[in-house]
């Protein structure tokens, strides 16, 4: 339990973890098979969470600033261009108007990372040069993960070579859906190897796994195979990050920590667009895993529109007046 009450890590943007990476463990099928997830109970817990946790005033402002440092600012569109990506990177460097940050005594806040397709990695790396903000690349035939396996592995290598510090891989949903955990383990382990020094986030595409039990099992298998992060969604599934899914994955992370001592990060992605949601997720991480999981090396939001709502809430905090979207520079 000591690991849950560690001091927070200091830096706001951390491509480098302050703890040893998860080396993975041999596949433990008994453990995987024993994973349980009671859907109704998990939904009740998730439903009561907003009523149980509330942060107000200065505390809310501080929490929202923290949330900004945890955002993987993302663009994953077919019409992405270098210009669009450079604009996003500018926003990543300066996510909130400096006057507002100065008013809060918190200058220099940046987002956690910028997340793009492979083709945009070089552009993003150049645009973020000197900022310390890492570039994450979605990889392995994102979002479906159904291109030839050797190409998916090769894609990781190319993105790392292009400067991506983090690789968001997608798992083969079919392995989870058919219960072929060995195949999933082997696939993820090989991808992890291909990542080399880059941190690997394993996207489970939870909206396509059918049951929370499958989410629990897939989470365990990905961690056993060496994932640095487990991530809910590509953002392209019908259902993306939800609180029930998050509870299941967070509990899996905790069980993995308890049994192996290895820390794995969590990234909910897709569907988190309100400041209030971000506070809720932070409270969930704080209560379920502790402060280390409220830092960018162990927690990220995969989000594109969340930042805009947070900016408005921060301006409201500073001025006492409700804000408008157009007052904040777009990304």
């Amino acid at each position: 339990m000591d690991t849950l009450t560690d001091r927070p890590t200091a830096g706001a943007h951390l491509p480098v973890a302050s703890h040893p990476r998860n080396p993975g463990i041999p596949l433990d099928l008994d453990w995987v098979a024993s994973a349980a997830a009671n859907t109704s109970a998990i939904e009740r817990r998730a439903a009561s969470l907003p009523g149980r946790r509330s942060v107000k005033k200065d505390w809310q402002a501080a929490w929202l600033l923290k949330a900004i440092t945890l955002i993987d600012l993302t663009t994953l569109s077919g019409d992405d261009t270098p210009g669009r990506v450079r604009r996003l990177c500018a926003k990543a460097r300066r996510p909130v108007a400096p006057a507002l940050l100065d008013a809060l005594g918190m200058p220099g806040i940046t987002v956690g990372a910028v997340c793009v397709y492979h083709e945009m990695v070089e552009t993003a790396v150049r645009a973020l040069e000197g900022s310390g903000i890492p570039v994450a690349a979605v990889s392995t035939g994102f979002p479906a993960g159904l291109s030839p396996f050797r190409l998916r592995i090769a894609e990781i290598g190319e993105s790392v070579a292009a400067g991506a510090a983090e690789i968001d891989i997608v798992i083969s949903r079919r392995h989870a859906l058919t219960g072929d955990w060995r195949a999933l383990y082997d696939e993820v382990a090989e991808m992890r190897a291909a990542c080399g020094p880059a941190h690997m986030k394993a996207i489970l595409a939870t909206g396509e796994l059918g049951t929370l039990r499958n989410v629990a099992r897939a989470s365990l298998v990905c961690m056993m195979a060496g994932a640095d992060f487990i991530k809910t969604s590509t953002g392209k599934e019908g259902v993306n990050a939800t609180l029930p899914v998050s509870l299941v994955m967070i509990r899996a992370i905790r069980d993995y920590l308890d049994r192996t001592g290895h820390r794995v990060g969590y990234k909910p992605a897709g569907g988190i667009s309100k400041a209030k949601d971000a506070l809720l997720y932070l409270a969930l991480m704080r209560d379920e895993l502790g402060l280390p999981w409220c830092q960018p090396d162990l927690f990220r939001f995969g989000a594109s529109s969340l930042l805009g709502d947070i900016e408005r809430q921060i301006e409201h905090h500073v001025t006492g007046r409700y804000s408008a979207a157009f007052r904040h520079p777009m990304g």
Partner: protein, 780 residues
């Protein structure tokens, strides 16, 4: 603390709900309240007590200490209002109840804040759980009021009712009493707990806006003495109590023999069973809802953790981790999990109980606020059933734990308690869950959940957790009575005295007791001659004693579980077989009845045969319900047999009286110990020969002849008898009710002349069974 500090620590900071409106309401009343009688507050001056905010010690207001005169005034007001309210059309009562529910919603925040101020419970709970359930309860019973005339023909309101409620859910318990009472057409005098009278007074004030006629709801504040005065007042026809088993027992004793209806919802030590295949993290979260809800001051709190040995260490570690992040503090803070204990007295009581315990005590390290009545969430492991804390209700945020090995052992441990309110089962195995749920002696079972409530689902206990159900259709029953005028008092029937010139013919014939399927001589070795009115010696009946009752109850307990497991159709067949064999000997039984009573017996024998058929018919048709509760899942209302029922049968229909009571009981899986008519015992003793030839398993029906008062007292006082029914003179009824306090068994007594040929078997079936509500949320 700067924003940069908070950025690093992610402290929660304060998130207080405003108390301004509630304080303004208290101020408008000068912080002094009278009683609410006849639609207005009585003068606030006079003997008073202070009610405090337990989180701060701050005095909130002074309320009147009600005395006999206050109680009397309130009961009189209720009595004056009763006739018109009872005669009000169900639809019009429904309108009032609907308005009451809506008013609670419209003033929901005021109610929630006031409740939190007065009780110390977190605002999340009063806001998200208590107050919405209150509104839901009035809404639900508005519907019952609307339907009552059509759905409950032949019934009428009980009349003036007395309600005494506890401090843990002041407004919700008010709703649980007042909503069904008003729906049924009863008027009410309610005494809230002295720690927490305020929301009841606010409710009363607001009830004016619902068009509730004056005097229909009256509230008298005060302490236990006020409650005792209300219970003892001759006016109310029924008493409804929620509170401690100790006080419930005193109320049972005080109302014995008064003819008042009584429902009791009392304490518990509810088991929380975690099997090794459960979703352990969800089971931990369930515990937060079970034992750290309302600081554990919940009668149905899952306070006794039973965890399968193989996962116990892991589970306890998870529980401790979760406990360490429970936030204890200002109940008005929206980010608090555990609030204040209601009063210093209670907090000290909890501390004393935990202090005296020998287990491994682990307290949450979460900081406690300075001042105020706070107690940390506590887990005590390494206990055995023999430890007092595994048996006694702590009524605080203290979880005790012990391990089990097998499902059977889990059930044994779970049922190893004097209480029987609620139980929780965690397993991912539907076979296991649905096997265990019926085996748990509890009125409510939650599968993979805890503390789910809804107005549509019955709630109430077994054993010393009380009797009666609140919620659902079953919850309206105690507030209604048969509309027909009460029957005349039963005439006393004395045994025919020994004649001056006895006529003794034939071979000597000795009736024995029938215990455990065998004919046995009475333990005391005494018998009594039974004479016909014409002076014939009809035979001898044994005079049973306490030991015979003891033996009969043992035999009945041994037989009952197997009998309840037999299929309903199997039980029906046995009853049909009894009818068949009785029919074959109908002439003999008719002659026996004529011999004893001097009256023709054919009609009674035929009625007995018909009753056996009816009981057989009902055996596989006494169905449960599926309640439309607001979860994805089902709440099953399952009728279950009481267990062993002691029956002191009426005198005047010596065969039919026995069969009309025993057959429905047996049909539903109970075992009975019957004390036959004292005057005319031989029809019953003849009947055991029919029993012996009809495949009735030994011990299912036991017959002990003898003195009704002696045997009735032994049955009513016996701790292993779940229910006792007695039909006879008022002194017998009073004695049975009085003795039943031993284990708070269900009683059914009457000194009226009931024609058992015309009696509705459904009443007997209802009394022979108890509704268990099994909540089964589902979803994968």
């Amino acid at each position: 603390m700067t924003i940069r500090d908070i950025f690093d620590t992610l402290d929660y900071g304060p998130a207080p709900e405003s108390a301004d409106q509630a304080m303004a309401w208290l101020d408008r009343h000068g912080r002094r309240f009278g009683h609410w009688i006849e639609g207005r507050f009585t003068p606030a001056d006079g003997a008073a007590f202070e009610t405090r905010n337990p989180a701060t010690g701050q005095v909130l207001a002074a309320c009147r200490q009600g005395d006999h005169a206050d109680v009397d005034a309130a009961v009189r007001a209720a009595a004056r209002a009763q006739k018109a309210w009872g005669a009000t059309a169900g639809h019009d009562r429904a309108r009032v109840l609907y308005a009451l529910g809506r008013l609670v919603q419209k003033h929901s925040r005021l109610f929630a804040v006031l409740e939190t101020l007065d009780t110390g419970k977190p605002i999340r709970e009063s806001r998200d759980i208590d107050v919405p359930l209150v509104a839901r309860h009035f809404g639900y019973y508005a519907g019952i009021a609307e339907l009552i005339e059509a759905e409950m023909p032949g019934t009428a309101p009980v009349g003036v009712c007395a309600a005494v409620i506890p401090w843990n859910f002041p407004l919700l318990m008010l709703a649980w009493k007042v909503a069904p009472a008003l729906a049924a057409g009863c008027t009410v005098v309610l005494k809230p707990a002295e720690y927490t009278p305020l929301t009841a007074l606010l409710f009363a004030e607001i009830s004016r806006e619902a068009g509730l006629p004056k005097g229909v709801l009256n509230i008298v504040t005060g302490d236990g003495a006020t409650g005792a005065a209300l219970v003892a007042h001759p006016g109310p026809a029924k008493v409804a109590f929620t509170g401690s088993t100790e006080v419930g027992r005193a109320i049972r004793a005080a109302t014995a023999g008064t003819g008042k209806g009584l429902t009791l919802e009392l304490g518990g030590k509810s088991p929380y069973i975690v099997f090794d295949d459960a979703d352990l993290d969800s089971a931990v979260e369930g515990l937060v809802d079970a034992i750290w809800f309302n600081q554990g001051q919940v009668c149905c709190a899952g306070s006794r953790l039973l965890v399968q040995e193989g996962v116990a260490d892991r589970f306890h570690a998870k529980v401790r981790r979760r406990m360490s992040v429970l936030r204890v503090g200002d109940p008005l803070d929206k980010c608090i999990d555990v609030g204040a204990i209601v009063d210093r007295v209670q907090r000290d009581r909890i501390a004393a109980m935990v202090g005296a315990c020998t287990g491994d005590v682990w307290r949450s390290p979460a900081p406690l606020p300075a001042g105020g009545c706070f107690y940390p969430p506590t887990l005590i492991t390494g206990l055995a059933p023999a430890d007092p804390l595994m048996q006694e209700e702590i009524f605080g945020p203290v979880l005790v734990s012990c391990t089990f090995r097998t499902p059977d052992e889990a059930v044994q441990l779970a049922n190893n308690t004097r209480y029987g309110l609620a139980a929780t089962v965690w397993t991912e195995n539907v076979n296991l869950a649905l096997d265990i749920a019926p085996k748990l002696r509890a009125g409510v079972v939650w599968v993979n959940a805890a503390n789910l409530f809804d107005a549509a689902a019955g709630f109430g206990g077994l054993r010393e957790s009380g009797f009666g159900r609140e919620g659902g259709w079953e919850g309206i029953v105690p507030w209604r009575r048969p509309a027909a005028a009460a029957a005349r008092a039963a005439r006393a029937v004395a045994p025919v005295p020994a004649p001056a010139d006895p006529i003794v013919e034939g071979i000597d014939r000795t009736a024995k007791l029938h215990i455990g399927g065998r004919q046995v001589r009475p333990d005391g070795g005494h018998s009594r001659a039974v004479w016909s009115p014409r002076g014939h010696l009809l035979g001898h009946a044994g005079i049973g004693n306490r030991k015979d009752i003891r033996n009969a109850v043992e035999a009945a307990q041994a037989a009952q579980k197997g009998w309840a497991r037999a299929t309903a159709w199997n039980r029906a067949q046995v009853l049909y077989y009894l009818a068949e064999n009785l029919s074959a000997r109908a002439a003999e039984f008719a002659a026996r009845l004529r011999g004893m009573t001097g009256r023709p017996g054919e009609g009674e024998v035929q009625a007995a045969i018909r009753t056996l058929f009816r009981a057989a018919a009902w055996a596989d048709k006494w169905e449960g319900r599926v309640k439309p509760v607001p979860i994805r899942g089902v709440a099953l209302a399952m009728p279950e047999p009481q267990g062993v029922i002691g029956i002191v049968t009426p005198d005047d229909q010596p065969l039919l009286g026995l069969i009309a009571l025993a057959a429905p009981a047996v049909a539903l899986g109970n075992a009975v110990v019957a004390v036959p008519s004292r005057a005319f015992p031989l029809a019953a003793t003849d009947f055991y020969q029919v029993i012996d030839t009809s495949d009735v398993p030994g011990g299912v029906v036991n017959i002990v002849t003898g003195d009704a008062a002696d045997l009735g007292a032994a049955l009513a006082g016996h701790m292993d008898v779940e229910a006792v029914w007695a039909f006879g003179p008022p002194a017998l009824c009073a004695m049975v009710e009085g003795q039943s306090v031993s284990n708070l068994k269900r009683t059914w007594v009457s000194d009226r002349a009931i024609d058992w040929a015309a009696h509705d078997l459904r009443e007997t079936l209802a009394r022979a069974s108890e509704i268990k509500t099994v909540w089964v949320p589902y979803g994968e």
